[in-house]
Each structure stands twice: as structure tokens, then as C-alpha cells.
């Protein structure tokens, strides 16, 4: 009897076992398909975002360098009502001409020139300033004719501020006023090795220029604009003596 019962069930068990093997293989293949399709394209998306941000920062620096400015730091070139015959604006000149003229005087920038630069840069970067922070600096390369000149006649840092209301998911942030700083770093290494490593991935554009000096020669200089996704800087880093940043203006979000 046992032999008969065993013989009768054998055929059906083999078919079910085969089917279960097939189900296992199909489930494994489906799992692989799902696993590889979910993150598909993340690298491409990152490359596209990188390309856009690089294009933006390059275009922003070019726009700043090409722009004209009213000689009056209070007047705004991006005033939509500005006209050639506007009597409130006495003179308009290239921004870089104003900058170079001021530098040639005493190898430093007056406060009014710094404000003109600040306003121009802030206006150009405004479309992205809610999500990105940036650093703009003019660096004069050391030479015999500029031995006593400031290496960094102008450094501007735009930094977003916020407080973390909830630290566990879903994260919640309360925006605070954004701050523009003027800084006086000791060297390029302070920017490259102390400040920028704390902000994550950066997007950078640099342009060379010649700056006239007091003794009617010229020196090589570099204008750089660096942008990064808004991030919290380590506390106290901006107050350190080798970076020496001072808060200049607070902007409400």
C-alpha cells in the first residue's frame, strides 16, 4: 500500500517542485530588475545639475566683469526706471574701470567702491542666493611693485543662516537673515584649505586681470567667484584672525 501511494503522488510533486524553482528564478530576476531600475540615471542627473551650476557661475562672473555701474554707490544700475537722461545718476562707467581706478590710487579699495562691488555681485547672484552661498574675491599676485599692497583688496562672502527646529526626520528649518561679510584672509591657502573644505562641493569661475598700481605699473590679479549649496559653517571660523570676516549687511529671506 505504501509503495502504491508513493508511486501515485510522485508525478505531481515533481511538477510543483519545478514550478517553485521557476518561481524562485523569476522572483530573483524581478528583484534584480527592480534593484537596477530604481537608481537609474542618478549619475546623469548629477552631471546635468553640475553643468547648469558651472554655466551659471561662469555667466555670473562674466556679467559682473562686463557690467557698468553708476559712480554713485547708492544708485542702482538695475533700477528699471534708469534712463540716459536721468539726472539722479551723474555718471555711468564700467564696474572694472571704477575698481581699477580706485586701486591705482593707493592699492586699496575705498568703502564706496566696495559697496558698488557688493551691490553688483548681490544683484547678479540674487536668483540663486536663496539656495546657494558664494564667495567673491580679487587676489593681487605678489610682485616687487606691489610689495606693500593688500593681496586681497576685496573679499565678499554671502552666507545663509538658519536654525534647525527639528533634527530628526522630517527635518525642519527656520530661516534667519542671510549675511554678507567682508573678509581679509592672510593668504589663498586660508580660503582654499580652511574655508572651502567646510562647504562641500563648490562651483568656481576665475578670470585674470591687470590692476594698475601707484607707480603707474600693472600687476597680475585674479577675480574668482565660488558658489556652493548653502551649508552651515563651523562656529567661529569666520572670526579667526587669518580669515577675519566682518558682517557688513544682513538680508531678510
Amino acid at each position: 500500500m505504501e509503495k502504491l501511494i508513493f508511486g501515485m503522488n510522485e508525478h505531481g510533486q515533481a511538477a510543483i517542485t519545478d514550478a517553485l524553482f521557476f518561481l524562485t528564478i523569476a522572483a530573483s530576476l524581478s528583484g534584480f530588475l527592480f534593484y537596477f531600475s530604481t537608481p537609474y540615471g542618478t549619475a546623469i542627473a548629477d552631471q546635468i545639475a553640475l553643468q547648469y551650476r558651472s554655466d551659471y557661475i561662469t555667466s555670473a562672473l562674466k556679467t559682473i566683469l562686463y557690467s557698468s555701474t553708476p559712480r554713485d554707490s547708492v544708485a542702482a544700475l538695475n533700477d528699471p526706471n534708469l534712463r540716459f537722461d536721468d539726472t539722479s545718476v551723474e555718471e555711468i562707467d564700467y564696474l572694472m574701470a571704477v575698481v581699477k581706478e580706485d586701486y591705482a590710487d593707493n592699492s586699496e579699495f575705498e568703502d564706496e567702491t566696495k559697496d558698488i562691488l557688493k551691490n553688483s555681485i548681490a544683484a547678479v547672484m540674487k536668483p540663486v542666493s536663496d539656495a546657494y552661498d558664494y564667495l567673491f574675491y580679487i587676489y593681487v599676485e605678489p610682485s616687487s611693485s606691489s610689495a606693500h599692497a593688500s593681496k586681497f583688496p576685496f573679499v565678499m562672502l554671502y552666507s545663509s543662516k538658519w536654525t534647525t527646529v527639528r533634527t530628526h526626520p522630517p527635518l525642519e528649518f527656520e530661516p534667519e537673515k542671510d549675511v554678507i561679510y567682508y573678509c581679509e584672509p592672510d593668504s589663498l591657502e586660508v580660503i582654499d584649505d580652511k574655508l572651502l573644505p567646510n562647504v562641500g562641493l563648490t562651483y568656481q569661475s576665475t578670470s585674470k586681470m591687470r590692476m594698475p598700481t601707484v607707480n603707474q605699473s600693472t600687476v597680475n590679479a585674479r577675480v574668482t567667484l565660488v558658489m556652493w549649496v548653502s551649508s552651515k559653517l563651523p562656529p567661529g571660523i569666520l572670526n579667526q584672525t587669518d580669515l577675519n570676516c566682518i558682517s557688513k549687511e544682513e538680508i531678510f529671506p
Binding site: M1, L4, I5, M8, N9, H11, G12, A15, I16, D18, A19, L20, F22, L23, I25, A26, A27, L29, S30, G31, L33, F34, F36, S37, T38, Y40, G41, I44, A45, I48, Q51, Y52, D55, Y56, T58, S59, A60, K62, T63, I64, Y66, S67, S68, L77, N78, P80, N81, L82, R83, F84, I92, Y94, S120, A123, V124, M125, K126, P127, V128
Partner: protein, 162 residues
């Protein structure tokens, strides 16, 4: 007793059809899901790449000398498969992607710097809507003299598929 539990040569295999069918449904469902995912994402990437290409063509070297030059840059745009609208805005202007209108740039003789390959406006149902903003320098010239100044403005490019 010889027949108990024995349904027949076909009937005995019927229970094995259940996991077989389930396996087939599972495989083809995941295959279709993966295929649709690839297809949708490829379309999104193609639109995003098209937006970068169109922006680069219109932006040029980020210095726009005149309205004629802007029109020339506009004509150089290749926009196969996508619809786009582009134009210049003042730095302080707000814009609504679903109701695009570009203002007359003051002191540019009342001309509107606008470039498009369709008269339609993008809607909330438009597929793969991408907006790109770039700062550019616009030369604003006085018609009666050689005087000009260079004004920073925004180039807005909106690209989508229907």
C-alpha cells in the same frame, strides 16, 4: 485506493500552474516597470539636456550687444522635439512659468527680447517642464549718440514637451 489522490495525467500538474503563472506575472510586471522607468527618465534627461543646449545657444558669451544679435542667437537654436520660450528679464522682475511674458527692457528702444518656437504657454500638464535662469550682460545704447552702458539682466529659458 489506487485512484485516490490521482487526478489524471493533466490534473496532477494543475497545482503547479499556480506558481508558474504567478512567476510569469511577477516577471513581466517588473519588466514593464523597469522599461517605463527607463523611458520616462530618458525623456526627462533629454529635455534637461535640450534646455542646456538651447540656453547655451541663446546665451552665447553672456554679452548681448543688441536686439539684432539676440535675434541672430535665437535663430541659431536647434529645438527638435521640445518647445521652448526664452527672453530677458530685469534683475528684479518676478516671473510665472505658466504665464510667461517678457517686459520691455527700459532704455532699449522699447524692444522685447523674446525667443520661442511655439505660441503656446506651458501648463501644469506639460511634461518635463524645465526652467533655466542665467545672468547676462546687455548693452543698452542710446539711438542718437554712441553712448551706451552695460546692464546685468536675466536670461530665462523654459523648455517642455507636450
Amino acid at each position: 485506493m489506487k485512484q485516490s489522490g490521482f487526478l489524471g495525467p493533466i490534473g496532477d500538474d494543475l497545482p503547479s500552474l499556480i506558481p508558474l503563472l504567478f512567476a510569469l506575472v511577477l516577471f513581466f510586471t517588473s519588466f514593464t516597470f523597469a522599461f517605463n522607468t527607463f523611458d520616462k527618465r530618458n525623456e526627462l534627461f533629454n529635455t534637461a539636456i535640450a534646455s542646456l543646449r538651447i540656453s547655451s545657444a541663446i546665451k552665447g558669451d553672456s554679452y548681448i550687444e543688441s536686439h539684432d544679435e539676440f535675434e541672430k542667437l535665437c535663430k541659431s537654436v536647434g529645438s527638435k522635439g521640445v518647445k521652448f520660450k526664452a527672453g530677458l528679464l530685469n534683475l528684479n522682475d518676478n516671473f510665472d512659468v505658466f504665464n510667461l511674458s517678457f517686459p520691455q527692457i527700459p532704455a532699449s528702444n522699447g524692444k522685447v527680447f523674446e525667443c520661442e518656437n511655439t505660441t503656446e504657454q506651458p501648463t501644469s500638464n506639460s511634461r518635463n517642464l524645465v526652467a533655466r535662469v542665467y545672468p547676462v550682460a546687455l548693452q543698452v545704447s542710446e539711438t542718437s549718440t554712441d553712448r551706451f552702458y552695460v546692464k546685468p539682466v536675466l536670461l530665462l529659458v523654459v523648455v517642455w514637451r507636450n
